[in-house]
């Protein structure tokens, strides 16, 4: 379960050598722009850009495709019904007794392409620097320390909760529990979910206490020193300018149908 969140083995690449702050800033701008795109052709261009960055980052192919595959299933859940649901007066095709609207297909494709682009950017960020480096970069970019800590702790809790769940499942199995579809199973699943929640809460409280015992007062401190080279700025400007160009193109296409 935690495998989905584990990081790939660090690879040396042009992107991983960049100053994490500039890289984070560039990818955040690119992601924000991608999220607001309204036209399919521009979204496809953004996705191509994201994939280009992924190539520059030398993302391990299997690692990337596995995550993309898992996310696609999730996106498909939302995107697939759209062609049937978004029926308007525009063009449509009939498939047997079903009517599929052109508008719906476009919205579904836009959603899917944007999701792939955003995930690619996120995975590129994840693969080119350890999580704590990215969080420290976020902190250096003046993201409030509350959010930085939230990021750090959420990441940590994924493992803790997965571990608790694993322990609970073992506890159930050694007492002869079998999965099934009856009343007893549903009740057990309910209890397990409840226990997990309570344990998670208590654990969170104790971690907070342990942090205070080590002098934590809400301030995020770090030894990481970042240094900027011209190439960092150049990459940032290139990515930001491309994002701006895509944004202008998108607005233009939208206003002149």
């Amino acid at each position: 379960m935690t495998l989905a969140f584990s990081l790939p083995p660090p690879t040396d690449s042009p992107l991983s050598r960049l100053d994490p702050r500039w890289k984070l800033a560039a990818l955040s701008i690119a992601a924000a722009v991608t999220a607001t795109l309204q036209t399919l052709s521009v979204a496809v261009a953004a996705c191509a850009g994201a994939l280009f960055l992924a190539v520059l980052a030398r993302l391990p192919g299997r690692w990337f495709l596995q995550r993309l595959g898992a996310a696609s299933l999730f996106v498909a859940l939302f995107a697939l019904p759209l062609p049937w649901m978004l029926l308007d007066d525009g063009m449509s095709w009939s498939l047997g007794c079903l009517r599929v609207s052109r508008h719906g297909v476009q919205v579904a494709l836009l959603l899917a392409v944007k999701a792939i682009a955003l995930l690619t950017m996120f995975l590129t960020l994840q693969a080119t620097a350890p999580l704590e480096t990215n969080l420290k970069a976020a902190h250096a970019l003046r993201i409030p320390s509350l959010f930085v800590q939230l990021g750090l702790l959420s990441y940590r809790y994924i493992f803790v909760l997965a571990d608790e769940l694993r322990r609970l499942r073992i506890a159930l199995r050694v007492r002869g529990y079998r999965r099934g579809m009856n009343r007893h199973n549903y009740r057990t699943a309910g209890h397990v979910a409840g226990t997990l929640l309570v344990r998670g809460y208590e654990r969170a409280e104790r971690v907070g206490q342990a942090m205070r015992c080590r002098g934590f007062n809400g301030q995020f401190r770090s030894l990481k020193k970042f240094s900027t080279r011209p190439v960092d700025v150049l990459v940032f400007v290139l990515v930001a300018a491309s994002a701006a160009a895509l944004l202008v193109w998108d607005r233009y296409l939208e206003l002149t149908p």
Binding site: E132, L152, R156, D163, C213, R214, G215, N217, L223
Partner: protein, 248 residues
């Protein structure tokens, strides 16, 4: 300063919300540099006592002073972390950073030490617990014993004058346990060690405090208290192996 007292507790009382008292009327003194073992059956209140001493829980009644500070006073509590280091019973509660290095550096950074001093303290603390070279590992992918050592290193790096160790030998293999005992001998300062590992207590503490049902039952030299077979049995403990011959 005259006879220095590191921990002074008078008539400490604590109850969890809606529960029976976890501590009732516990009193004791610990002199600076003394090493005191805290023993008692499950649910005796050992962990609760440590949490009161470190200011996590608010004990009621009596007087409490730890390293000259009152953990119940919010303004004094802020200075407690540089004085008192507590290693929790469960290491998972204590480790939350993405690398071992960051976790051990967490305390020194909070003390606002200069970067080179932070690095030096982290290196030294990791060396003391035998984890040199593990700096970049992810703490939550370590074994139970390794986690325990990281947690201990994180506290040692703060160089507290008082150490509270809750079940320090849990999860350690025999060699790790031997090294822990050696480490405890090499550390100066005041220590309280709560443990069911009575052999460890016997080897590291001159004095023992026996708790049961939140009350202080006995307080005396480790060799005497732990050798008292009737007392030990009455409180769910047993005389450590190496004292058995002596009692007869």
């Amino acid at each position: 300063m005259s006879f220095e007292i590191a921990i002074q507790a008078r008539d400490l009382t604590f109850a969890y919300p809606g529960g029976a008292p976890a501590l009732s009327g516990v009193s004791f003194d610990v002199a600076a540099g003394e090493s005191v073992g805290l023993v008692g059956p499950n649910g005796a209140g050992k962990t609760s006592l440590f949490l009161c001493l470190s200011g996590v829980l608010q004990a009621r009644g009596g007087a409490l002073s730890v390293g000259g500070l009152d953990p119940r006073d919010p303004s004094q509590r802020r200075h407690l972390p540089s004085q008192v280091g507590i290693v929790f019973q469960n290491s998972d509660d204590q480790l939350f950073n993405a690398t071992v290095f960051d976790d051990v550096a967490f305390g020194p950074l909070n003390l606002e030490l200069p970067p080179h001093e932070v690095r030096q303290r982290v290196d030294e603390a990791l060396a003391r617990v035998g984890l040199t070279g593990m700096e970049e590992r992810v703490p939550f992918h370590l074994s139970g014993g390794e986690k325990r050592r990281v947690a201990l290193a994180g506290v040692l790096a703060m160089r507290p004058s008082i150490l509270l160790l809750d079940e320090p030998s849990m999860y350690l293999d025999p060699r790790g346990r031997r090294e822990l005992i050696r480490l405890l001998h090499s550390l100066g300062g005041t220590r309280m060690i709560a443990s069911h590992d009575l052999e460890l207590i016997l080897q590291t503490c001159q004095r023992v405090l026996l708790l049961d049902g939140g009350r202080s039952i006995a307080d005396g030299p480790a060799q005497t208290v732990l050798a008292d077979a009737t007392l030990m049995e009455a409180h769910g403990l047993e005389v450590p192996y190496r004292l058995r011959g002596a009692a007869r």
